[in-house]
């Protein structure tokens, strides 16, 4: 047990101490923040501060609603009325306004308006402000409660029949969190395979296998390495969750929409519960590959294909959005390699039934144990095969070999002697 910890500790420290770990762990979220910030700047930046003109021939618009609309908005476009299209055109040509709308006489019947602009089309935020202005004017005659409902929409709460999950449609950003976590895990899983494979081929490439094999058991070696690497990945995820939390808090100070997003702790609990067996399953598969191949490069190719088995759900995102409880997704939920990501992705959109969660966790754990058991056997026969691949037959024989085979072959040997 002590040796297992020693191996785990060494594996952990030598992964965490290198610069590339720091780079990936901190760099990856920074990259995401950076990309979103740039995208945000592009979307909101360069807003034309000049007013927006309009010519109302229908008499529908009521500029009395404008102060109420501008209130509670950071930047509401300045909207000015022009008596006729000619006056508005002159103002546009002189550069006094960025664009102007013409609301025709028959607007209520046709529901069409026309936008005139100079060189640049107004930003979507500007046109949205104008639409709000129209909407506000149209409902201005209604009672305040009706106005509110019409402008904010309905708040629908979806509750699963077992009462376990409650989702409110208003909290759109909250359901994004599972996706963010799922994507982080996607990266954790993809990098884990490479790490694990490297950890196994390292002993072969450095020719240290015999020293290690005469110091510890294959089981200790493999579980130690896997444990160290699980700790590395968990560290990475913890840092990411912490950064996400910090990011939401800091972002909330500036961006209203981020306020009130809570980290879904129940989901994070499920994440930890699934993470260990999923990682063990990956570990078992990678160790089996690492044991069967000689060089890392060789294994990397196989590992790439194996990784696909784990990240497959990402490719069905559209299906998950449209129909999170479709039979195909239930299959993906129950299938050991895809269960973890599928559950996380479904989490935000639907309620995953208990029986599916329990069954998929059991299937996952059983196959994880199975894969490690197979890996230990492949490792045992492959550990000293330098420079040559293990044949499929040797692997199958190694896996099927029972501990009793030693006695069996001794007996067979004696029989041979008797026959001779």
């Amino acid at each position: 047990m002590r040796k297992l910890w020693l191996i785990a500790k060494r594996e952990y420290l030598r992964r965490v101490k290198v610069k590339s770990f720091l780079f990936v762990t901190l760099g990856f979220p920074l990259l995401i923040v950076g990309v979103s910030a740039i995208a945000g700047l592009i979307a909101t930046g360069g807003r034309d501060s000049r007013p927006l003109g309009y010519v109302d021939l229908s008499g529908v618009l009521d500029d009395g609603v404008l102060p109420a609309l501008a209130e509670g908005r950071k930047a509401f476009s300045q909207i000015e009325a022009y008596p006729n299209a000619d006056a508005a055109r002159v103002a546009l040509e002189e550069g006094l306004i960025q664009a102007y709308y013409v609301v025709p006489r028959d607007y209520l019947a046709e529901k069409e308006i026309t936008l005139f602009y100079g060189e640049d089309q107004p930003r979507s935020a500007t046109t949205r402000d104008f639409r709000d202005f129209i909407r506000g004017s149209l409902v201005a005659q209604q009672r305040p409660e009706v106005q509110e409902t019409l402008s904010d929409g309905l708040a629908i709460t979806i509750r699963s029949t077992d009462g376990r999950r409650v989702m409110s449609e208003g909290g759109v950003p909250s359901f994004l969190v599972p996706f963010v976590v799922a994507f982080f895990l996607f990266f954790a899983i993809s990098s884990a395979g490479g790490y694990l494979l490297q950890a196994m081929t390292e002993e072969k490439e450095n020719r240290t296998m015999e020293i290690i094999a005469t110091s510890v058991s294959p089981g200790q070696l493999m579980s130690g390495k896997a444990l160290g690497l699980i700790a590395v990945s968990l560290t990475q995820i913890l840092v990411w969750v912490a950064l996400l939390g910090a990011g939401l808090w800091i972002g909330g100070l500036f961006v209203e929409e981020l306020r009130g997003i809570e980290l879904p702790w129940d989901m994070l609990g499920v994440t930890v519960l699934y993470f260990v067996p999923t990682f063990a399953l990956i570990a078992g598969m990678m160790i089996a590959i690492g044991g069967a191949v000689t060089e890392q490069q060789q294994g990397q190719q196989v590992a790439g294909i194996l990784n696909m088995l784990f990240i497959l759900p990402i490719f069905f995102l559209v299906l998950i959005f449209e129909s999170p409880d479709s039979p195909f997704l239930v299959v993906l939920t129950l299938f050991p390699t895809t269960g973890f990501l599928t559950i996380l992705l479904r989490w935000g959109l639907s309620s995953v039934p208990w029986w599916q969660m329990v069954l998929s966790w059991v299937l996952l754990s059983v196959s994880a144990l199975g894969s490690i058991w197979v890996a230990a056997r492949v490792f045992r026969i492959g550990m000293l095969q330098y420079g040559q691949r293990l044949s499929m037959r040797a692997i199958v024989e190694g896996v099927r070999e029972r501990p009793a085979s030693r006695e069996r072959s001794v007996t067979r040997d004696r029989e041979d002697v008797i026959h001779a």
Binding site: L6, R207, E210, T214, S215, V216, S405, D413
Partner: protein
């Protein structure tokens, strides 16, 4: 005295190739036991079965009075033929890590490793990465890994390969020192002259079979008279009853067939007019001579020798 290791009728095949067919021997505390044989004879495979790295197809291994267990691994020091340390790590932390895997705690491992590094002239290289070390230094570093946990059973596979004469001497001294401390030592090599002075007992393996097993002195006595050394001028090749002739430091060394005596050779030489003999003596056979004779005599006799 109980044997530290006892292997009995080991056999192991890889596919169709039978690497080890029948190897048995015992090793006792306080002796250096030579595991000898040419390249590819099955020495390393035998060692790997002894250490439970390979499972034997047949036969059994008893180590410290029973089967191999994880706890027993701490009592064994092994210098594998495949030398290897983590190339991209620094020397001292690597040695400390490997020592802790043998059950030492870290502070104790540090102290002992510092002593060993000083003794083997590696102390000033302790912060270098392993890949920066020369082959000889690498080898010495692995000897530290083999011995640092003070094992009761020491197995060294080709311990002198890659070492200069000074370091060879140093390693020989260390091995002898371990023997005096009562350790059981198994030394595998194909350089038989290296073991003649060092080993108490040997087993000679050829093509996976133990062909000779016993005390070095006794074996030499048994094969005495089966080689002659002579000096002189002329052609000494092609004499009847001679298995092998080799030139050795100006003298001729002849290994003889079984049943051929030194007298027969002497007479044959006397009949050759073309040669002039300055010195003629019955050689104390080297293990090389013994080996050549045993192998050339074929399976039947060698099995008899193995039983002896």
């Amino acid at each position: 005295m109980n044997a530290t290791v006892s292997v009995s009728h080991l056999a192991k095949s890889f596919g169709r190739f039978q690497a080890v067919k029948d190897v048995s021997f015992e090793v006792y505390p306080g002796e250096i036991f030579g595991l000898l044989g040419p390249n590819g004879a099955g020495k390393t495979t035998s060692i790997r079965m002894m250490l439970d790295i390979f499972k034997p197809d047949a036969g059994s291994v008893t180590i410290f009075g029973g089967e191999m267990t994880e706890a027993k691994k701490n009592r064994i020091g092994y210098l594998p033929e495949e030398r290897g340390l983590y190339q991209d790590l620094k020397l001292e932390p690597t040695l400390v890590y490997l020592a802790t895997l043998k059950g030492l705690d870290e502070s104790e491992a540090r102290l002992r490793i510092a002593d060993w590094l000083k003794r083997l002239d590696l102390y000033e290289h302790r912060a270098k990465k392993v890949q920066e070390l020369s082959r000889g230094m690498h080898q010495k570093a692995q000897i530290i890994t083999t011995l640092v946990h003070d094992p009761e059973l020491i197995i060294v596979d080709e311990p002198f390969s890659g070492l200069d004469p000074v370091n060879t001497r140093l390693v020989k001294d260390i091995i002898e020192e371990q023997r005096q401390a009562g350790k059981a030592i198994v030394m595998s090599t194909h350089q038989m002259y290296q073991v003649e002075a060092l080993c108490n007992r040997i087993v000679l393996i050829d093509k996976g079979v133990a062909v000779l097993y016993g005390e070095v002195g006794e074996i030499r006595r048994r094969f005495a008279g089966n080689a002659v050394v002579l000096e002189g001028q002329g052609d000494f090749e092609g004499l009847p009853g001679v298995l092998e002739v080799r030139r050795d430091n100006g003298s001729w060394h002849m290994a003889l067939e079984a049943g051929v005596s030194a007298q027969d050779i002497f007479q044959a030489l006397a009949r050759r007019a073309s040669v002039k003999v300055d010195r003629f003596e019955v050689a104390e056979p080297s293990l090389d001579d013994v080996f050549i004779r045993v192998v050339s005599e074929g399976q039947g006799e060698s099995e008899e020798a193995a039983r002896a």
